[in-house]
């Protein structure tokens, strides 16, 4: 059994190797685009909620509610509006990616020690300068953690995009489910897992390079 499964895997790659990499490219494209958009939206919204304190409550609760709706439901709900394909998949994934980034941005910006802000103000910085020179750089590690969470969630959920013709490794997984084929499930699921881990490690490394001071020996 073990051996035949192994053979099935080998056969799959020799027969469908090109298709596999095409699907991988689609999966990565959709995920990265969604991640970029949600990072942009999440950080901007985070900035706005900090600048306009009154909006914090409703922005945060709205985003938290959106987070509850399952991605598959979002995908299917979007079809009458946007048709099928990559666009609705992107929207669903962005909705999934924004909350962790937004929440971490808000926490990061809110938890800067008052003494730091005080000395910055003492040095004569304007609000704007404080935002860009003090608050954002200090909040950045936490924001990056948010992006990491979002990246992994987005890559895993991009599997669902195959339900609406946006391609990706999901195609292999759903085919495997329909045919009850272990090899396809392993290949599809494994590919998604490896991709998610890879992106996670990549972001970890960039964190070490960008915020080297965090890793200083105290």
């Amino acid at each position: 059994m073990q051996e035949s499964l192994w053979m099935q895997l080998v056969n799959y790659f020799s027969d469908h190797g090109r298709a596999f990499f095409a699907l991988g490219r689609e999966h990565i494209q959709v995920s990265l685009l969604a991640l970029l958009c949600s990072a942009w939206i999440g950080i901007t919204l985070g900035y706005l909620t900090i600048t306009y304190k009154r909006s914090e409550k409703w922005i945060v609760s709205l985003i938290q509610i959106l987070r509850i709706v399952p991605s598959l439901a979002v995908l299917l709900l979007l079809i009458p509006l946007m048709g099928t394909g990559t666009k609705p998949a992107l929207i669903a994934l962005i909705l999934l990616g924004v909350p962790p980034i937004l929440m971490n941005t808000i926490t990061g910006l809110n938890h800067i020690p008052l003494s730091v802000l005080e000395s910055a103000q003492g040095a004569g910085m304007s609000d704007r300068q404080m935002m860009w020179k003090i608050k954002f750089p200090l909040a950045a590690p936490l924001i990056l953690t948010g992006i990491k969470t979002a990246a992994i969630e987005i890559i895993a959920s991009a599997t669902l995009a195959a339900k609406i013709g946006a391609g990706g490794f999901g195609e292999i997984i759903f085919t495997g489910l329909g045919l009850n084929r272990m090899d396809l499930l392993l290949i599809g699921g494994g590919a998604v897992a490896i991709l998610a881990i890879f992106i996670g490690v990549l972001l970890d490394i960039s964190e070490r390079i960008l915020f080297r001071y965090q890793f200083l020996q105290r």
Binding site: I79, G85, K163, G165, T175, L184
Partner: protein, 304 residues
């Protein structure tokens, strides 16, 4: 201490009430099994077409003076074991399913041959009888957007193969891999080199075709949406690759020999069904959102 006593009291009384209710239920069940001898239990699979046809059998038997117990929505993969285990007495089955999924025999394409084979094997192996099969065939097929069909002059799968490079295929994943799916077609018709091929959820295919996001999709030959012939055209399998899936009632031998007149009553229903009729009935439920019982009733009255 006082509170504790109270809780114990409440719990005990709850248990007593519950056990009373449960025993009442099981009594009812016993009653039902007593009635078993006189009523015919008709099972159906869990999709529209099977539900409608099962209901037609039920109506016909009721008209003939039988008591009928309906057992709807049995999952396709267990319905065979439930008739073998005598949990139901009859159900509508497809000749191709019997041949390939239940008996696991080799693919045959002639409807009569398939029917004869399953009839003989079922009798030998399971003591089940296939009554006469109807012309309604719920098999695999390919559906094409009417516009594309007109533009390129595609009516059959042979035509399709010639024009495949100009067409976008909306797959649902499985058909590309299944031995009796696209690979079976390609063996006979030649390679299908689609312009593009994307996977969609099966429930979306008509939406995708309607929105002009794909040209061809796999389909079952009696799907309700196919009544829209100016939008969707079912391609003819001109070299007969796909096995026939004719609708036919499967009934337990015991029941049939006790009530031999059932055969005649049900065969009358089967003879009234063909692919177009059943497609129209499916459309009433799946497209126009009517209840399947009402659709079956109206059709039954129309063939009286």
């Amino acid at each position: 201490m006082k509170i504790k006593k109270k809780t114990i009291y409440i719990i005990t009384s709850l248990i007593i009430v519950l056990s009373l209710v449960l025993s009442a239920c099981s009594q009812q069940k016993n009653q039902a099994s007593k009635n078993k001898e006189t009523s015919i239990r008709i099972g159906t699979k869990d999709f529209t077409e099977n539900l409608i046809v099962g209901e037609l059998y039920a109506l016909a038997l009721e008209d003939a003076g039988y008591q009928v117990e309906r057992v709807p929505n049995i999952t396709g993969s267990v319905i065979h074991s439930s008739i073998v285990n005598q949990d139901i007495d009859m159900y509508p089955e497809y000749t191709g399913t019997g041949l390939l999924a239940i008996l696991k025999l080799d693919l045959l394409t002639d409807p009569d041959e398939v029917y004869a084979t399953v009839k003989e094997e079922y009798k030998k192996k399971f003591n089940l009888t296939w009554l006469e099969y109807s012309k309604a065939n719920d098999g695999a097929g390919l559906v094409i957007r009417a516009e594309a069909s007109e533009k390129l002059g595609i009516k059959t799968i042979t035509d399709l193969q010639k024009h495949a490079t100009e067409l976008r295929f909306a797959s649902q994943g499985e058909v590309d891999q299944r031995a009796d799916g696209i690979p079976a077609l390609e063996k006979v018709y030649g390679k299908l080199n689609w312009k593009s091929s994307k996977v969609y959820d099966n429930s979306l295919k008509y939406e995708v075709l309607k929105n002009n996001e794909a040209d061809v999709a796999p389909a079952y030959t009696t799907e309700g949406q196919l009544v829209n012939k100016d939008q969707y055209i079912l391609l003819e399998d001109d070299k007969q690759v796909w096995p026939p899936y004719n609708l036919a009632p499967v009934i337990r031998d015991e029941v049939l020999s006790a009530h031999p007149d059932i055969a005649e009553v049900i065969n009358k229903i089967s003879s009234a069904l063909d692919t177009d009729t059943i497609t129209a009935l499916n459309a009433k439920v799946d497209v126009e959102q009517e209840e399947y019982e009402d659709v079956a009733k109206a059709f039954y009255e129309s063939i009286q």
